[in-house]
């Protein structure tokens, strides 16, 4: 990869980030309602994607146990508690594995 291609890729990446943030006018209330529904599903999807390796095979046991620990504490709606649950789950996964 040449420096020029790298700069082009950096520009594509930055423009994709800035396009909606800078150029989009404040959305209408109806559009805003739809946009407000997006974050939770995206995070749930990202969690799922990080639990699936290449070809859809699940990742290792300790990581699955960490996710289970976080999921268990997710009703508390606290990121800190989810991280603690994840750490406890990971430790349990290592011990049991």
């Amino acid at each position: 990869m040449s420096p020029l291609v790298l700069v082009a890729i950096a520009l594509i990446t930055y423009l994709s980030r800035a396009a909606a943030v800078v150029l989009l006018p404040r959305p209408s209330p109806r559009f805003e309602t739809i946009l407000s529904r997006i974050p939770a599903p995206i995070f749930a999807s990202l969690a799922t994607a990080t639990l699936l390796g290449d070809g859809g095979a699940p990742v290792g046991g300790p990581t699955l146990a960490a996710a289970a620990g976080a999921l268990l504490l997710s009703p508390a709606r606290s990121l800190l508690l989810c991280l603690i649950g994840g750490a406890a789950g990971y430790a349990a996964g290592v011990l049991l594995g």
Binding site: I12, V21, L24, A49, L81
Partner: protein, 217 residues
């Protein structure tokens, strides 16, 4: 919220070192460092290394950048209504828009007083963005210069699902959000199994698809 970005920063530093070690073979040390400095996108940078290892030419590299970056349009649109500052400041903040910082910014806005949503969202995007950016750069430098954090890769990898589950819980302010989140997770798993080539786009596509229908309860 920014303090809670520290575990993610530690994990990102580990992956930065793996990226640095893998990329220097194809890019050399100066371009490897420049790539993390200018691009700041782990998923894209790892994909580019994989393509280069397979002998890809310029066009596939650019196309991959275009396709993988499509998700930023959705993340940016979802944040846009929360921003109150002018276009110049938004242009600066946009550089720090990655999956994790989007999550921290949304979570900060959700827990702020109604009149402080904009300031909390923007401040969190900036500070968590800087934190993760520095972590990615430090990791890249360590990896590119021959250091290695590969021994803790599995521990670092476990942080991301935990982080995203926590962010999903924070973002789900209504029961309908929980239902949509579960539907998106199932949809993403189905895409990963049936169409593995689209796995990296699946989260955003699933997020948008489940957000469109119905009302809020």
């Amino acid at each position: 919220m920014v303090a809670l970005a520290l575990p993610a920063a530690a994990a990102i530093a580990v992956f930065g070192s793996l990226y640095g070690a893998a990329a220097r073979e194809f890019l050399g040390v100066p371009l490897t460092l420049a790539s993390s400095l200018l691009v700041y996108s782990g998923a894209l940078q790892f994909a580019l290394v994989a393509l280069m290892s397979a002998g890809a030419t310029t066009l596939p590299l650019l196309l991959t950048a275009g396709v993988l970056n499509l998700r930023h349009l959705v993340l940016g649109a979802a944040l846009r209504s929360r921003f109150e500052s002018g276009p110049l400041r938004r242009a600066l903040l946009a550089f720090f828009l990655v999956d994790e910082t989007f999550g921290f910014a949304v979570a900060a806005g959700n827990t702020a007083e109604p009149r402080a949503v904009g300031a909390a969202t923007e401040r969190t995007l900036l500070y968590s963005g800087l934190t993760l950016y520095v972590a990615w750069l430090v990791g890249t430098v360590v990896g590119a210069l021959g250091g290695g954090l590969a021994a803790v890769e599995s521990q670092a990898g476990a942080i991301f699902p935990v982080l995203f589950i926590g962010l999903a819980a924070l973002a789900a302010t209504r029961r309908s959000h929980v239902v949509r989140a579960l539907a998106a997770a199932v949809l993403t798993a189905a895409v990963a199994l049936l169409l593995p080539d689209l796995r990296m786009l699946a989260p955003v596509v699933a997020g948008v698809v489940v957000a469109l229908p119905g009302g809020d309860r």
